[in-house]
């Protein structure tokens, strides 16, 4: 599904990712954990195609060169990034945004467009599972949403767009325990043999609801240790420095 080899990323003369290797097979859930400044957000940004980074190394996604694609091409190919800080877009209705995104992706995939009526029903069905008020559809994208509402809106998009690889960037940050449960259960429900997930996080909180197949420790721009879900507990108990040294 995703194969990353010797990936470096820099901004100006500052190297942030420094020879990162990572393999995620279909259906697996991986967690990348690390302290602030380790390069977690850079990893998600580079994978999703944000401008501003100079990269070397290779990233192969579904057999093709991921780094050669535009952000929208990556999305159409099945990559999804749940943002750490979802962007507020005044004046653009949430429903219009979701509907446009879904049809843009379906168009590239050769699937027929979904009409407005069918889309509304579909969106409401997904929202009900995430305990979201349908009123969120008629508001502007993320505008005035609380932190928890924004994160739920991300998971709603994840659920509607049905990606092959979902990257969750600090999705657990800023959530209270109830919101964390809803989001965590929402993610767990999306587990599928054909869908992989990469959970990028500072805290292991979300991992109480979503059990990862592999846990990686990211430090100074590279993976320094890999283990199973027990590693997350260990990190919480002894901290990144000590865990990385073992």
């Amino acid at each position: 599904m995703l194969h990353i080899e010797r990936l470096t990323a820099s901004v100006g003369d500052k190297t942030i990712l420094d020879g990162l290797d990572l393999d995620i097979a279909a259906g697996e859930i991986h967690a990348v954990m690390g302290p602030n400044g380790a390069g977690k957000s850079t990893l998600s940004n580079v994978l999703a195609g944000r401008d501003g980074y100079t990269t070397t190394g290779t990233v192969t996604f579904e057999g093709g060169d991921l780094l050669a694609l535009t952000p929208e091409e990556r999305a159409a190919k099945g990559l999804f990034l749940a943002f750490q800080h979802p962007v507020e877009i005044p004046g653009v209705g949430n429903m219009y945004f979701l509907h446009t995104a879904l049809n843009a992706i379906r168009l590239v995939r050769g699937q027929p467009e979904i009409g407005a009526v069918d889309f509304l029903a579909l969106a409401k069905e997904h929202m009900a599972r995430l305990d979201m008020d349908p009123a969120f559809l008629s508001r502007s994208v993320n505008e005035g949403f609380s932190g928890g509402e924004k994160k739920r809106n991300e998971i709603l998009q994840l659920s509607l767009l049905e990606p092959r690889l979902a990257i969750l960037d600090e999705t657990d940050s800023g959530l209270d325990i109830d919101a964390l449960r809803v989001v965590g259960e929402g993610v767990e429900r999306l587990r599928h043999p054909e869908r992989s997930m990469l959970i990028i996080t500072h805290h292991p909180r979300l991992l109480e609801f979503v059990r990862p197949d592999r846990v990686h420790v990211l430090q100074a721009g590279r993976i320094v240790r890999t283990g199973d879900h027990h590693l997350a507990r260990e990190l919480e108990a002894v901290g990144y420095g000590a865990a990385a040294a073992r």
Partner: protein, 422 residues
């Protein structure tokens, strides 16, 4: 002000002014002339180009066979209510639909107005500037909308001013008068549109909102690509009156819209929206003045500019709170989106507060498209150009979504999308 170019009066103004107002306009213009960019209120407007076009212009022909109902439908739309159509400033009954008798509403032109008792204040009016003086002196007709006290009009009244130039530049001077009686409710749509060709439209609109009246006014300037437009709208509000005004500018080559609102009685309020979209080499200027000369009135200005290519847009917003008034609530915002390095947006808030008990805010922004928002849309599979279009439309949505009726809102949205290549 400068001396009026020699010959301009002779060429554009009829030798014997048809009314005392026309005579006042001619005398005022002869004495004071047209404005220049040295005049503060005209500093952003290429007024020399406008005067140059006027100097070369001939009076527009009074009648033209080019304007049928279907042409008016295509240019300005049909918004359900009565429609008065003026071509080159002269009433065109064949394309109009005065709508039979609507209770409490009188629609007409100069001929009909002559049969009515003159308004007492009309005799004292003085022009605000040389263009308005020229409008009075050279104008040949007037669109009149008179609403009786207490009348509640459900359907919008649509006044359409069409510039129908020939091969050479022609000048026309449409005038509109709206008197909303005390306690009445009226929705006026003013459309300024045109057939292709070089024209100069010099428009003047006067609205008097009686005590306790509710007036909605949508002014849409969507003239042809070669058109020059100078418009002035003066709205006087009585006590407890409510105004919702919107000014949309999509068309023309050089266009300036001045809006002067004055509170003559207490406890009145005005919500004033504006949207301007200069593209190509278009130039759109907005000059808004809100005169809080009565106490306990509230005004809110929301103007949004989207400038692209070599377009230039400006907003000058003057709030005047007079000495001796109290309880004024005045707000102003001007947001600009600059989409090309060659485009330019100017914003000039001017708050002149001569009273103590005032709540007054203003804000102005000039920015580019939000890269983070664009990346967010693209990361969801929305292609770059479509994402840009969504963000630009979103920037204008606050103003467009508030437009009524839906037929006009859809029309403005379509003109917006067409201009943006959407």
């Amino acid at each position: 002000m400068t001396a009026t170019p020699a010959g301009l009066l002779d060429r554009l103004v009829p030798p014997s002014p048809p009314s005392p107002r026309a005579e006042r306009g001619r005398d005022w213009l002869a004495a004071h002339g047209l404005p220049t960019t040295r005049d503060e209120a005209w500093r952003y407007t290429p007024v020399d180009d406008i005067v140059g076009a006027l100097e070369a212009a001939a009076p527009a022909p009074a009648s033209t066979s080019q304007v049928s109902r279907s042409v008016v439908d295509a240019l300005a739309g049909d918004h359900g209510g009565p429609r008065l159509v003026f071509v080159n400033g002269v009433f065109e009954p064949r394309a109009s639909d005065a709508g039979g008798a609507v209770d409490g509403l009188w629609l007409g032109n100069r001929d009909g107005m002559r049969a009515r008792p003159p308004s007492p204040r009309a005799a004292e009016d003085q022009p605000a500037d040389g263009f308005q003086a020229l409008n009075w002196a050279a104008g040949r007709d007037v669109a009149a909308v008179l609403v009786e006290p207490g009348a509640q009009l459900d359907q919008p009244v649509h006044v359409v001013h069409i510039a129908a130039p020939g091969e050479d530049t022609t000048a026309n001077h449409p005038r509109t008068v709206v008197l909303a009686g005390p306690g009445s409710r009226v929705h006026l749509i003013e459309s300024y549109v045109g057939l292709p060709g070089p024209s100069v439209t010099n428009a003047s609109t006067r609205i008097v909102a009686g005590a306790g009246s509710t007036v909605t006014h949508h002014r849409v300037q969507d003239e042809a690509a070669a058109a020059i437009h100078v418009g002035r709208t003066a709205i006087d509000q009585g006590a407890r009156s409510t105004l919702r005004a919107t000014s949309i500018m999509t068309g023309g080559h050089i266009a300036r819209s001045a809006l002067a609102i004055g509170f003559d009685g207490t406890d009145a309020c005005a919500d004033i929206d504006g949207l301007y979209l200069p593209l190509g080499h278009q130039h759109h200027d907005n000059v808004v003045t809100v005169d809080h000369r009565a106490s306990h009135c509230a005004s809110t200005q929301r103007f949004t500019g989207i400038v692209d290519d070599h377009g230039r847009g400006s907003f000058s917003g003057h709030v005047l709170v007079r000495h001796g008034t109290t309880g004024t609530d005045a707000h102003q915002s001007n947001r600009n989106l600059v989409l090309a390095p060659t485009a330019q947006a100017d914003t000039r808030p001017w708050l002149e507060i001569l009273a103590d008990d005032v709540r007054c805010t203003h804000g102005a922004t000039v920015g580019r498209l939000d890269d983070d928002a664009l990346f967010y849309l693209r990361s969801r599979g929305i292609p770059l150009e479509q994402g840009r279009a969504m963000l630009v439309a979103g920037f204008a949505a606050e103003i467009i979504d508030a437009i009524t009726p839906a037929t006009l809102r859809d029309r403005v949205a379509a003109a917006f999308a067409a201009g943006r290549g959407g």
